[in-house]
């Protein structure tokens, strides 16, 4: 069910990402200020945007779960947040490498963009421990959904607050169209699309895996029960005869 079109999606994401990175390397011009180092932008920014978008998507699925009570929505929200955390690690690491190359420091604590992203990332790091600290499945799903909605609302608000704050050294490239000339914008948009496709592919992949595992467990339980029933039904017959 979840695995439909997974192969097409995987191929599309690999082709789009490879194309985007090729455009970034060979088509987009060198940045006048940062030079070759600016090429990290085409990886780091899509990673961060898609990770944040994934958190909001997780919140949307959580709202649907709370509204309908459909457990598959809870699973979708869980996987969306999990995937965003993975991309978030990528955004933090690539950003840190870029910071070291550009500013000479791995991390700058008084830069709102960096700290805001870290806060969101750390907030979502508590999602899984929260889930696994609640044994009752229904309560776990409900509490996790409430968390996902609250944190999901916090994500764009936090992003907006960062946009309104005065930047220290982190550039605000997407604030103005002039910051990104045509070739750079095209390469960036293709990379962003590729990253979004990769996110959807991995999200569907993990959903497919979890769905298959759940089906297998259910089948195991059924077979176990069938075996036990057979055993019980066979034994009395033997004693009667």
């Amino acid at each position: 069910m979840y695995g439909s079109r997974l192969q097409t999606l995987a191929i599309a994401s690999v082709v789009t990402l490879a194309g985007g990175f090729a455009l970034a390397a060979f088509y987009a011009p060198m940045d006048a200020d940062q030079g070759f180092m600016q090429k990290i932008f085409y990886l780091h920014v899509p990673l961060a945007i898609v990770a944040l978008g994934g958190f909001v998507f997780g919140a949307y699925q959580a709202v649907q779960h709370l509204r309908t009570g459909d457990p598959s929505r809870d699973l979708k929200s869980y996987v969306a947040i999990h995937m965003s955390l993975i991309l978030g690690i990528g955004a933090l690491v690539t950003g840190s490498i870029w910071a070291r190359a550009s500013w000479g420091k791995w991390w700058v604590w008084d830069e709102p963009t960096l700290v805001a992203f870290l806060i969101i990332f750390l907030l979502y790091c508590t999602y899984q421990p929260l889930r696994f600290s609640i044994e009752d499945r229904d309560r776990q799903a409900r509490y996790a959904s409430v968390f996902a909605v609250t944190a999901g609302v916090f994500t764009p608000l936090n992003f907006l607050a960062v946009r309104l704050a005065d930047p220290l050294i982190h550039p605000r490239t997407l604030d103005s169209q002039d910051n990104l000339p045509g070739e750079m914008r095209l390469a960036f948009l293709v990379c962003l699309l590729g990253m979004a496709l990769l996110y959807v592919t991995l999200w569907k992949f993990e959903l497919t895996h979890k769905h298959a595992r759940a089906q297998l467990r259910s089948l195991k339980r059924k077979l176990g029960a069938a075996d036990a029933a057979r055993g019980r039904s066979a034994a009395p017959e033997a004693t009667v005869s």
């Binding site: 030079g35 990886l43 690491v93 190359a101």
Partner: protein, 66 residues
């Protein structure tokens, strides 16, 4: 090769290596989980192929009756 890279090319290369490494780690973890699933599925298949106890008992009774 490093002589051909522009200034700070090492950092760019490192950033672009982190990404596939991250995806590879994820894929490796998922591959381990999938192999576990496959093993469970094989066990289920074996269990399904095994004859049920009543199916085994019936012929014995027939032998006793004769």
């Amino acid at each position: 090769m490093s002589d051909n890279l522009p200034d700070n090319g090492g950092y760019v290369a490192a950033a672009y290596l982190v990404f596939p490494a991250l995806v590879l780690i994820y894929v490796a973890i998922m591959a381990i989980r999938l192999s576990r699933l496959e093993r469970d599925l094989a066990q289920l298949n074996e269990a399904a192929d095994r004859p049920a106890p009543d199916e085994v008992a019936e012929p014995r009774e027939e032998v006793r009756a004769t």
